[in-house]
Point group: C2
Chain length 233, copies 2
């Protein structure tokens, strides 16, 4: 790995104890061998995406990289955000998923609304999860974005974490805020917008309507901006 | 145009006086006829992207839509941001350009740096300009994002607007700020990062280093977050 650029971190499904050897997935092996050009003996950062971070020593390269766990640490999740998002147009969720993972969001919950439903095929969910792993690697997180299956908006109340703060992007809302509590739950309507009764239901769930400047924003842009405000806060 | 969704705004290169008739471009005609399904007699919002906004009445549809200018107003630019950005990886500038246009940024200035140069072919610049026009339309701005040709970072000082505030994304910078002045100039390094001497040069130009949370962000994510902070502020 080049010494001047901070190397990325590989993702492994599970990290065995120090001294054990593990095999990396085809994706991660390809990344290490073809992109980073690691050789046996190289030290590589790894995470299981559930807070554990390891230093690995590469023992064998090839289509499958074998590596030994040299050290193992647990990193608590310091902050926690959920993004509950209506369907944007076209394939625009792809980059949203990447960006949310890059910002360290905990949960991406696609939400089916009156004016927009997701077409979340198994292939699409798998693509989002692959994008989330790639972003985990690139941004050196210890926690993987949990990409969930779509849920009807009426069922949001069943799954939301308790406490914290809840915010919904709304052009008619208050000016932006900096007091995001934890967990921070963010909701954004689909490209067709939230219906009146959906807005009422979110208000009953204590979502604060937040105005994101003067522009008319696309779903994915509003989601990213609101998440960005949490991330930099 | 559907009455419940706020209709988009078409872009025209120049707006003639009230009472004149104009022909829309192939792109805009296609959008009106195929996407919005307008008929003769329909009223349509238009802008020249330089602050003028008109109501048009469609006179003839087809491959080229003809329309008459019914009213014409000038909207001053209320806020002004420049984004001076190093090259991100791959085609990631495409969505950055779209998002900056959506947020109402005035100028997108690609910057060639020691650790990253743009490959801004004429085709790529034209694609960015088309994306900017599409975002103008969708977000109903009156001002079009000015997509400029790349410039070496040493030449930034020659072209920056005077006054206002200048900020550069920097993991070693201060916590985020809300006091963006106008014009607001934002700088972000390329995917390889800014070199030490480039950071010094920006500091000499009074760019304040701003830290954007704890994550290691890609160029385009940092640019969008910093711009988002300006947009919502």
């Amino acid at each position: 790995l080049p010494a001047d650029a901070a190397p990325s971190r590989v993702w492994v499904a599970a990290l065995p104890p120090v001294g054990s050897t593990l095999e990396l997935s085809a994706d991660e092996s390809h990344y290490l061998v073809r992109v980073c050009r690691v050789r046996p003996g190289a030290r590589v950062d790894a995470t299981d995406g559930c807070g554990r971070v390891a230093e690995l020593v590469v023992r064998a390269t090839g289509r499958v990289v074998a590596a030994e766990v040299n050290s193992l640490d647990a990193q608590p999740r310091r902050r926690c955000a959920w993004v509950c998002c209506g369907a944007p147009e076209g394939e625009r969720a792809d980059w949203l998923v990447e960006k949310l993972a890059e910002l360290g969001v905990a949960v991406f919950q696609p939400v089916d609304c009156e004016r927009g439903a997701w077409r979340a095929t198994p292939a699409r969910l798998e693509r989002w999860r692959r994008l989330a792993r790639a972003a985990l690697r690139q941004s050196r997180q210890a926690w993987l974005l949990d990409v969930r299956e779509p849920l009807p908006i009426e069922r949001l109340s069943d799954i939301l974490p308790a406490g914290g703060t809840r915010s919904v992007a709304d052009p008619a809302g208050a000016a932006w805020i900096t007091d995001f509590g934890e967990p921070c739950v963010i909701a954004v309507g689909p490209s067709g917008g939230l219906s009146g009764s959906e807005k009422d239901a979110l208000r009953a769930l204590e979502f604060r309507p937040i105005r994101l400047g003067d522009s008319r924003l696309r779903t994915e842009t509003a989601a990213l901006l609101l998440t960005g405000m949490w991330a930099v806060g």
